[in-house]
């Protein structure tokens, strides 16, 4: 276990280092932020002052060294556009993305598992086939297009739900959240549904495949022979055994929900990290792009590590790599 942890952390450090070099050199080598950030009317002196302030006059490797030194201290530079520290900007937007992702995951679990188990118990029934067809559709539909259709249906035509923004927020420990106010929750419904769609399809497939496999096992047959009610067989014997793959995949997919929120946030103008990333890419706000990517990479590494550890706790048959001796 310890060997595994040490190896994983070392590996993660290498990944972060490679990513930062790649992102830094790439972003700093292409595009000229001077043209974008400094007003064309500025005179030579103003330009020079701005370039020196942003550190754009130094050679590339010196810029990188300064960047790496500061990054280790948690300072990824100051946003060219907003004038505040980039990391702070990203972290300020993080709660909005997090609450959206969590609501989407909740929707995925609460709808995906019952539908998947239903389809798994009766794979040849009409309902089972409809559920599977729906899940294929869910995989095929591009997220952003579904988001637009949701806006068109529920915001433009019916006028039931708002199409953009976060609505009212409540501060908990100094962090604003939308899901605690009725208005905020209303704003969350459409984006969360949009973000959940792909995961619902995934959970349906996992739950269906698991149920089909588990339902044929001897212990299920035995439980039935014992005269247990179908509800108990499904609720206890089947559900418990299909949860391991579902939990693992959901854990791993949590990261991808955060990554995909880039799309949903852009469609619904949700002020999270993802929208910040796209805005920053388009405005060539390099420190923010770098900060977003490094924060996300770190987040991913932590999520993957936690899921691996949880996996071995949930299923004692799994032995973590590294414990070969």
């Amino acid at each position: 276990m310890l060997v595994f942890l040490i190896r994983r952390i070392a590996q993660s450090a290498i990944v972060v280092a490679i990513m930062s070099v790649l992102v830094f050199t790439g972003i700093f080598a292409i595009g000229n932020p001077i043209d974008v950030l400094i007003s064309p009317e500025a005179d030579e002196a103003e330009r020079a002052a701005a370039i020196a302030r942003l550190g754009l006059d130094l050679p590339m490797h010196e810029q990188f060294l300064a960047f790496a030194r500061n990054a280790l201290a948690g300072d990824l530079g100051i946003s060219f556009v907003h004038g505040v520290p980039a990391v702070q900007l990203v972290l300020e937007r993080f709660p909005a993305t997090l609450e959206l992702a969590l609501l989407a995951m909740t929707i995925a679990v609460l709808t995906g598992i019952p539908l998947g188990v239903w389809a798994g118990l009766r794979p040849d029934s009409k309902a089972g086939k409809i559920i599977m067809a729906g899940s294929i559709l869910g995989f095929s539909l591009p997220t952003f297009w579904v988001g637009m259709l949701l806006i068109m249906a529920f915001a433009v035509s019916l006028g039931w739900l708002p199409a953009s923004g976060r609505g009212e927020t409540v501060e908990v420990l100094g962090v604003p959240f939308s899901f605690l106010t009725a208005n905020g929750l209303k704003h969350m419904i459409l984006p969360a549904l949009n973000l959940a769609l792909f995961k619902v399809s995934l959970v349906i497939r996992l739950a269906r495949a698991g149920t089909r496999e588990v339902a044929l096992q001897d212990y299920v047959r035995f439980a039935r022979a014992k005269g247990l009610s179908p509800a108990r067989i499904v609720g206890v014997h089947i559900l418990k055994n299909i949860m391991i793959p579902v939990v693992t995949v959901l854990g791993l997919e949590f990261g991808s929900v955060i990554a995909f929120s880039v799309v949903t946030e852009t469609v619904f103008a949700w002020p999270g990290m993802g929208k910040l990333l796209i805005d920053s890419i388009l405005l060539l706000d390099r420190p923010v792009v770098v900060a977003y990517l490094l924060v996300t990479v770190l987040l991913f590494i932590v999520i993957n590590l936690v899921v691996d550890l949880l996996y071995s706790l949930l299923d004692p048959r799994i032995r973590l790599g590294g414990a070969k001796a």
């Binding site: 590996q11 990944v15 990513m19 790649l22 992102v23 790439g26 972003i27 292409i30 595009g31 294929i136 559709l137 995989f139 095929s140 539909l141 591009p142 997220t143 952003f144 297009w145 637009m148 259709l149 806006i151 068109m152 433009v156 199409a163 791993l252 990261g255 991808s256 990554a259 995909f260 880039v262 799309v263 852009t266 469609v267 990333l277 796209i278 890419i281 388009l282 792009v289 990517l293 996300t296 990479v297 991913f300 993957n304």
Partner: protein
């Protein structure tokens, strides 16, 4: 896939290819998907011949025809079956040309990634040892990040452009193939026919290319079909976000994005129809892919 070798035509000889075709045609839904796909690909290929208008030729556009609803005609009696956009561009023509870009990106990135993955995966399987470990570790690390994130990073670095999107999508996909090929090759190389070929003292490259490779292809084809659909969706998403293809070569995603603002004011067709075209393309590829998986899956073969 219909390119049967002449030998296969002999009666009572059940070649794998023939069995594959027969089993594939078993599912009506899959045949429908294949028919749709053929229709879509050929209409994209022949877009210059069948499109009512060249959407890139600005001299043919008349701003007076801007934002016409579907089915309306202009003064000369030309009908805009799917409506027009704000510049008076016929939407059906724009979709046909957009399909070209979308399919080009989807198929070429998949093909290049497939080739890279095939070579890397074979090397990993055949070399074994630390080279194998290093390659697979790289694959694992890459696959632990979602494709869209990697593509966004690459495009933030590379900038816009059709070629750049293809590069980004290739970089995103190769790892899937490398992993699939390696696991297939590891299973196959332990089988008797490989041993027999080795006993015949055939050169190593002949064993790899003529014996091992064809037997590793089925799972790869399945992954590739699904990946084409993924690549097309991903390209559309990236273009929608504004980091994909440039405005001069609009793909379906780009068309959808440019119609987004009109959607809110009720002019739904500008982004609805490109979206439907995208959806039908992806669904038909997925239907074909699903059936291929069932037919080629060794566990389901009887």
């Amino acid at each position: 896939m219909t390119a049967a070798s002449p030998v296969a035509a002999a009666p009572r000889v059940q070649t794998p290819l023939k069995r594959f075709v027969v089993e594939f045609l078993d599912s009506r839904v899959a045949v429908l998907g294949l028919a749709l796909l053929v229709l879509i690909v050929s209409s994209a290929l022949f877009a210059p011949l069948i499109a009512p208008q060249d959407p890139y030729d600005l001299s043919k556009l008349d701003i007076m025809n801007g934002m016409l609803p579907p089915g309306s005609a202009d003064m000369d009696g030309n009908v805009f079956w799917l409506g027009s956009d704000e510049q008076g561009r016929d939407l059906m023509s724009a979709i046909l040309y957009g399909l070209r870009t979308s399919l080009l990106v989807g198929f070429s990135s998949t093909a290049v990634a497939l080739a890279i993955g095939l070579v890397v995966g074979m090397i990993a399987a055949y070399a074994g040892g630390s080279l194998d470990a290093a390659i697979m570790r790289l694959v694992d690390i890459q696959l632990s990040f979602p494709a869209i994130l990697i593509a966004l990073i690459l495009l933030a670095v590379l900038g816009k452009g059709v070629d750049k999107v293809i590069i980004a999508l290739t970089a995103v996909q190769w790892a899937y193939y490398a992993r699939t090929v390696r696991s297939a090759a590891l299973v196959e190389r332990r089988k008797e026919y490989v041993e027999a070929a080795q006993c015949l003292a055939l050169p190593k490259q002949r064993i790899v290319l003529r014996h091992l490779l064809p037997n590793c292809l089925p799972p790869l084809i399945v992954v590739a079909t699904v990946q084409v659909a993924h690549a097309i969706t991903l390209e559309a998403t990236l273009s929608f976000l504004g980091v994909g293809v440039p405005v001069t070569e609009p793909s379906l995603g780009m068309l959808i994005a440019s119609g987004f603002s009109y959607m809110l004011s009720g002019e739904f067709w500008v982004s609805l129809f490109p979206g439907l075209a995208l959806l039908v393309t992806i669904v038909s590829i997925n239907l074909v892919g699903d059936q291929m998986r069932d037919v080629l899956n060794p566990r389901l073969q009887h």
